[in-house]
Symmetry: C2
């Protein structure tokens, strides 16, 4: 079964990865249409040795597409995705537009694939930092139940988009050249700094990024009362989000048991030989589709507690890979 596919936001950081993954993972593409804003229209992308021109996004251009990846901002998704779904396509949306919509499944194929089947034309892919967290927590949850989760993130600039990648690149070049560092994207210099500020602030003092981690994790696990808290921090890393995770389980798990469960879980790679300097690193996770877990140890402050270090490529598993995996599941299930 080959599928007529479209990517909206084909020139962006995530859209570019979706196209690469469709090719790399051998997704059964019958036709590929690439769409972006007027600014990027006309540029060409190579897919399976063939050049495809990016068109300006339009409803008409998406007529006949069966699976449409939306890798654009929340506003555009909110407006356009329902219309595209009404044309008969299944939309896989990476924005925040539909993630908390009870009519729209919020899916991570390793964790809640069954939810995908309930779709009514739109499937939401969670935020990057949520995806890697739930993939790592799921085997622990299944074996021992979750009582409490405390997360601190170390998030790469590529999560903000191509402009932010350019800003970090520019700032380190300015530094190396002895020039004044300038900025446009972030409210403060990102090179050689840590910003405890991702997305806007909520009235409760949390950022939306932190609340996404909280609300999306609860929704994906189907546990509205899960005690979970987060601090989300931007660090001067190009690609790869890291998370320091402390989890309290209902039943006791040893570090050894947790490591064994993680090693057997889909989409997880355990890298945990600290005596040989082996642990997950954002630099090593870049370009990979799995979630890497290491530094697994019994926690010192919580009964039935485990601490671990969870890393993934935020553009791949944190966005593009998860979306393509949702599409693969749809194909397997006959859309």
């Amino acid at each position: 079964m080959a599928v007529r596919v479209a990517v909206v936001g084909a020139a962006g950081a995530v859209g570019t990865q979706v196209i690469r993954l469709l090719e790399d993972r051998g997704f059964p593409v019958a036709e590929l249409r690439l769409m972006a804003t007027k600014r990027s229209a006309g540029s060409k992308v190579t897919f399976k040795g063939e050049e495809i021109e990016i068109e300006e996004a339009s409803l008409e251009g998406l007529a006949g597409s069966q699976v449409v990846f939306f890798a654009v901002g929340t506003e555009v998704s909110r407006e356009l995705a329902p219309l595209v779904a009404r044309q008969g396509a299944v939309v896989i949306d990476k924005s925040n537009a539909f993630r908390m919509d009870p009519e729209v499944p919020l899916a991570v194929p390793e964790v809640n694939p069954e939810d995908i089947k309930r779709h009514k034309g739109i499937i939401a892919s969670p935020n990057c930092s949520t995806i890697q967290l739930v993939v790592a927590l799921n085997p622990i949850r299944q074996a021992a139940g979750l009582e409490r989760v405390i997360v601190s993130t170390y998030q790469a600039v590529s999560g903000t988009g191509i402009d932010a990648i350019r800003e970090l690149d520019m700032q380190v070049r300015q530094y190396s050249g002895g020039q004044q560092l300038t900025r446009e994207v972030y409210p403060h210099q990102i090179a050689f700094n840590c910003l405890p500020h991702i997305d806007s602030f909520d009235a409760n003092g949390y950022t939306l990024e932190e609340m996404k981690l909280v609300r999306e994790s609860r929704r994906i696990f189907g546990d509205e009362n899960l005690a979970i808290t987060a601090t989300a921090v931007r660090v001067p890393v190009f690609t790869g989000h890291s998370e320091a995770v402390v989890v309290q389980t209902k039943k006791k798990l040893t570090a050894q048991e947790a490591r064994r469960l993680l090693a057997g879980a889909p989409g997880v790679v355990v890298q945990d030989e600290p005596e040989h300097n082996v642990y997950p690193l954002p630099l090593n996770a870049a370009g990979r589709d799995e979630v890497f877990v290491g530094r697994v140890r019994e926690d010192l402050a919580l009964e039935n507690g485990l601490s671990m270090w969870v890393v993934a490529d935020n553009l791949r598993k944190g966005a593009a890979t998860n979306a393509v995996q949702i599409a693969e599941f749809l194909v397997k299930e006959g859309l």
Copy 2:
């Protein structure tokens, strides 16, 4: 009362700061002797407009000194400090050599100044990441008691020393020049990366850096059973350690109450206007002597929980400033 002072390790990252602080804070110096390894001996340092030559460290050279700052590695401190103390000096040691020695006070002047008085010739200054944590926790502990503390750190390379500052500098220059990145100090590239590995690994899976945070905090607070856990991470920042701290108190505190307590605490500056992009940043803390606290909010996962973001200059308050403050307390108390 003017004091005969010596700095051992005067050419290092922390020693250099101690000399600067003695001048900046108007410490009553009668005489200043500077010591280092043979390699650095002979180089000159300007102190109050006068050039002082660094000598090769020796017991004889320290005879007659009243306060001796040790800003050297653990091995050298362990060997030399007791001999210097036996000569009649008070040693203020920044290494790990004596921190858990029950005969040696482990002191943060804002938190446990009374412990300084019990010294027998050596006073230990805690590890950088501990100092800023206990300064921020202390007003909360005094008002509401500590039940549980969970810390994730974002630590600057200057904590490793001058070689590590050079390594990050070199790697970003290599990056900017399109060259291959090389490394010597860290087991992995530090530029554009996060290393969940500071100091060596313990059998329980924690690093010594993490266990220092745990053990030193318990000792400073005089609470051997405090439930506290840590993940210590090196980030590509030159100066300024950041910490995401979740604390569960015995009595409920609102975020507003916590902010008020922090604002009134010695050595703490509250920076907490997220709506104006005001929160602590390592880049802004660099060169400052205070501990900066912001992002104070009621925690979502723990009853009576508070989350906050704590930043300080690891070479100043995290090392040199704390040592000089201990010396100031000694002078105030007549040594």
